[in-house]
């Protein structure tokens, strides 16, 4: 067992974990943050995407012990004050989700994308989401959702 201390969605947590525990397992099992999903075992699908120290990462490919001392944001912490994040709002406005399973990871990846590139082209968005599988939407409305969010965020800034 190793002791880890980390901040998840602005709250500090401290736990003993087996070193082999994945961050995704830790978030889901220990903290009951089940919005982070596990869809594969090869770091391919992106359903488990969370933000770690301001970067979108695949929490199924990070050990909880590696996250010791980090700040994590999960989908549950993306909208801290009940106000939806622009990307969340965009997914709702543009029907960017169907079954919802990939959605949380997709939103976390898209939020990171817009953080780095507030005015992405369609190609930027498609390239930026290549680490996230969706089997429901054909990505069409996901791209539109991210475009909607980009526009909404830029309007907010201007």
């Amino acid at each position: 067992m190793s002791k880890i201390t980390l901040k998840v969605n602005q709250k500090s947590h401290s736990h003993d974990v087996e070193p082999r525990t994945l961050l995704a397992h830790y978030l889901r099992e220990q903290l009951s943050l089940t919005g982070t999903h596990i869809g594969c075992d090869t770091s391919s699908c992106g359903s488990c995407t969370v933000h770690m120290d301001g970067m979108a990462v695949k929490s199924c490919t990070i050990l909880a012990v590696q996250a010791d001392g980090s700040e994590i944001t999960t989908i549950e912490g993306l909208a801290p004050n009940g106000q939806l994040h622009a990307v969340q709002q965009g997914f709702k406005e543009c029907h960017g989700l169907q079954c919802g399973f990939c959605t949380t990871g997709m939103i976390m990846a898209a939020a990171d994308l817009l953080e780095r590139n507030p005015d992405p082209s369609e190609e930027d968005i498609r390239h930026g989401l290549e680490g996230n599988f969706c089997r429901c939407t054909g990505y069409h409305n996901i791209v539109r959702s991210v475009q909607w969010a980009a526009k909404s965020m830029s309007e907010l800034v201007n």
Partner: protein, 794 residues
């Protein structure tokens, strides 16, 4: 009624929980005292269990129990059943070998991943660790994976009592000699021998189950990521475990995609339920993606020879087909129905072909079961027809669009004009096939495209356009019809509409949403019919205790069948409501009209609101004599016919001349799915369907080696479309109402998948011809290598 919601792109009410991470999938659920299961599985496609030793595993930390196939055998549990029976041509009964929950000693595993034991432990990690410590001795046997080879002399048998590995053989259409004669008399015959490859559905949520037996109430609860909770309860109780149905509750919480793969009543569902009773602890099992690849029912997998005969003018005269359909090692719920009644019956397509015959073998192989995968049989039929059409056009030097249109069934609405009777058993409800093609061609700007194509060819670039038209049979299905075809269940749907005393409405639907947005679409209908705000409507589904009954969601049936059941209950509410209103307004019910949420005495402004009537129904102080209190109706709707959506899809591709790599540039889809309740949701269904169909054309396909190993059983190896593989889709719609259901809807869930695959393949072939490569066919998926090789060889 009002039309405030119907026809509008109302934003989905279910989204809130999903975008905030509050969706509740089975794996998100934790029960007190819950344990975890991990399975010991066959590494071989065909091998006999010679011995199994659990002693080392039993003493591993955290182990609660270990069950083997021998334990199951002792209980007398035989295994999971199929939902359809398709008998042999000669009347012999379909071969239906047992599909055991666990393989017992002395028996054989029949595909990779077939389970022999299950380990139940306190934690997931402990279960996995202990499962690895179970020692199994195997006698590795020869395997067969190809459905054609499996039927040949000397092929190893999957089941000892299924000679030739046949589950059944089957035919449909006109007498074979008539079709033979028509082919022989044809001026031109186009022939294609091809494989419609095996697809892995790949719902992003892996299957997950929790079995929970409660000793105090002697009740079982199964949480399952399924498309049809009631069906699972029925099959598990009546056919597998022999449990009293009223003591079993099946819950399908949020389900992360199904695409057909979550129809099947899987062995693990029964096993965790049974084992929970043994251990008196809740048991969760969530599959890994590796397991999902091995175990979730696959789709397609046909080996086909098809011949289409034309007269000198290009009119289709005959169609003759021989198909070997791979069913896998065991029969899935819809397994026997997919290649037969969902495939053979669609071979008329949109054409007036006068003579059609299909001969089909349903074949066992050492592969995982094949079941309904998005489109289920209909994509295979469409692929066959639309590849033949395009190839015939190329061979005869005709325009592929004109050739299709020349052979189309003329428009008919199913009301003034009768439905169209096909040569393959179905009667189409309504259709206007030229309409969708003309729309799509306008979007393409065909003339301009051909000019661009020529110009590209001169610059050494290969551009291509591919067409596809399709028809599908959805809204499954009339129970009497499917019953006569071998279905072991009715395919109606149930719905209960409960008007609460305050006028709020709860709807209990037997349909199940795993992404389709039922909570929104159904609420739109109910709100409009009652003239109340959508917020006042709640849709409940996925709970066998709350919902009376249900057949679930597949085959694009939720709105056409489930929605119609809701309509029936709505009508009953309105009819009774009118009686109450009439009593209060002191008039006859016939004098009332219902609109905008109130009953009004015709020609006056005397009225009473929906809410007042609801309250009166529950507080019946002033009430019609002899009328029961309450406003709560359940209905069952059994459709009169299938529904028949259709459409036209066009793909534009560029082929890299040097590498064969295909880039999809444009995709146009004009679909006619009947009336549309929520255009946004319908478009979303089409988009997703397109991606799966395009995926089959260009990227996907399960590959079993000769030993039955799935060699691309991971996302590192199995290519599935990602965001940057696809363009924005160009969609339009035509609305030809379905004449036989109250909403006039036809179903949109599978259309995209059905139409898109041949359009893409046709486009690639067209691109190659534009560069002088007269290639007739390329096997799917059209990988760079396959396209490159096709160019090399022509």
């Amino acid at each position: 009624m009002s039309n405030k919601y119907i026809g509008q792109s109302v934003k989905r009410v279910e989204d809130k929980r999903f975008i905030t991470g509050k969706g509740r999938y089975t794996d998100d659920i934790k029960l007190l005292g819950m344990t975890h299961a991990s399975f010991v599985r066959s590494p071989y496609a065909h091998a006999r269990v010679t011995s199994i030793d659990i002693s080392a595993a039993e003493s591993m930390p955290g182990v609660v129990a270990i069950f083997t196939g021998d334990d199951i055998k002792e209980t007398g549990i035989v295994g999971v059943p199929t939902g359809w029976q398709v008998n042999f041509k000669n009347g012999d009964t379909m071969k239906e070998p047992p599909h055991p929950l666990l393989i017992a000693t002395g028996s054989t595993a029949k595909h990779i991943g077939d389970p022999v034991a299950v380990v139940i432990a306190e934690t997931y990690a402990q279960a996995v660790d202990a499962a690895e410590a179970v020692e199994v001795d195997w006698e590795d046997l020869e395997a067969v994976t190809d459905p054609f080879k499996a039927t040949q002399e000397g092929a190893t048998l999957v089941h000892d009592d299924s000679p030739g590995n046949l589950a059944f053989d089957w035919e449909l259409g006109n007498p074979l000699d008539e079709v033979n004669a028509a082919i022989d008399a044809s001026a031109h015959v186009t022939t294609l021998e091809f494989v419609n490859q095996r697809m892995v559905p790949n719902a992003i949520e892996p299957r997950s189950y929790i079995g929970h037996y409660d000793e105090v109430s002697d009740k079982y609860t199964l949480y399952t990521s399924t498309q049809n909770p009631h069906l699972i309860r029925l099959l598990m109780c009546a056919f597998v475990l022999g449990l009293p149905e009223h003591k079993v509750r099946v819950l399908g919480p949020d389900v992360g995609g199904g695409f057909g793969s979550k129809i099947f009543h899987y062995t693990e569902e029964a096993l965790v339920t049974w084992a929970s009773q043994q251990t008196k602890r809740p048991i969760k099992w969530t599959e890994t993606r590796s397991e999902a690849f091995m175990l979730d029912a696959h789709g397609r997998d046909h080996v086909t020879k098809a011949e289409m005969g034309f007269d000198g003018e290009g009119n289709v005269k005959a169609l003759r087909i021989k198909t070997y359909a791979n069913l896998g090692a065991y029969l899935s719920t819809f397994g026997p129905a997919v290649p037969t009644y969902l495939h053979g019956t669609l071979l008329q397509g949109l054409y007036t072909t006068p003579k059609i015959h299909i001969d089909l073998c349903g074949v066992f192989t050492h592969t995982v079961a094949v079941d309904a995968y998005r489109g289920a049989g209909r994509p295979e039929a469409t692929y066959l027809l639309e590849r033949l059409m395009d190839l015939a056009a190329l061979e005869m030097g005709k325009d592929p669009v004109e050739l299709r249109k020349q052979n189309f069934i003329p428009a008919f609405d199913g009301v003034e004009q009768p439905g169209y009777q096909t040569q393959v058993a179905l009667q189409y409800d309504s259709g206007n096939y030229h309409g969708v093609v003309d729309k799509a061609m306008k979007m393409l700007d065909y003339k301009k495209f051909r000019e661009m194509q020529q110009e590209a060819a001169q610059n050494g670039k290969l551009l291509g356009v591919g067409f596809s038209t399709y028809i599908e049979a959805c809204g499954i299905a009339p129970s009497a019809v499917v019953g006569s075809l071998g279905a072991r269940a009715g395919l109606y749907e149930s719905a209960q509409v409960r008007v609460q005393p305050t006028g709020k409405v709860s709807v209990y639907s037997g349909s199940h949403s795993h992404g389709q947005g039922h909570e929104t679409t159904f609420a739109q209908i109910v709100a409009d019919k009652f003239g109340i705000p959508m917020e006042d409507v709640d849709i409940v589904h996925g709970d066998s205790d709350a919902v009376a009954f249900g057949m679930g969601t597949y085959g694009s049936r939720s709105l056409a069948v489930g929605g119609s059941a809701i309509m029936k209950s709505i009508d009953k509410v309105l009819e009774k409501g009118a009686k109450i209103a009439a009593h209060k307004l002191e008039c006859a019910a016939d004098d009332l009209e219902f609109a905008e949420g109130k009953w009004t005495v015709k020609g006056t402004d005397k009225h009473i609101g929906f809410g007042d009537v609801a309250l009166t129904a529950y507080v019946p102080h002033v009430y019609p004599e002899g009328l029961e209190p309450g406003l709560d109706f359940a209905s069952f709707y059994d459709p009169a016919n299938f529904t028949y959506p259709f459409g036209c899809h066009i793909a534009v591709v560029e082929v890299d001349k040097e590498t064969g790599k295909v880039k999809l540039q444009r995709f146009i889809a004009v679909d006619d799915v009947g009336n549309v309740i929520n255009p946004m949701i319908v478009d979303g269904q089409i988009h997703g369907g397109l991606a799966q169909g395009i995926g089959q054309a260009l990227l996907e396909g399960a590959i079993y080696d000769d030993y039955g190993q799935l060699v691309n059983g991971s996302y590192m190896d199995y290519a599935m479309p990602r965001a940057d593989d696809l363009p924005m889709f160009e969609l339009d719609r035509q609305e030809t109402p379905c004449p036989h259901n109250p909403l006039g809807v036809k179903g949109a869930g599978e259309a995209g998948t059905i139409g898109s695959t041949p359009a893409v393949v046709n486009a690639v072939i067209d691109a190659l011809w534009s560069g002088g490569h007269k290639v007739k066919d390329i096997a799917m998926p059209l990988t760079g290598e396959r396209v490159w090789r096709a160019m090399q060889s022509s």
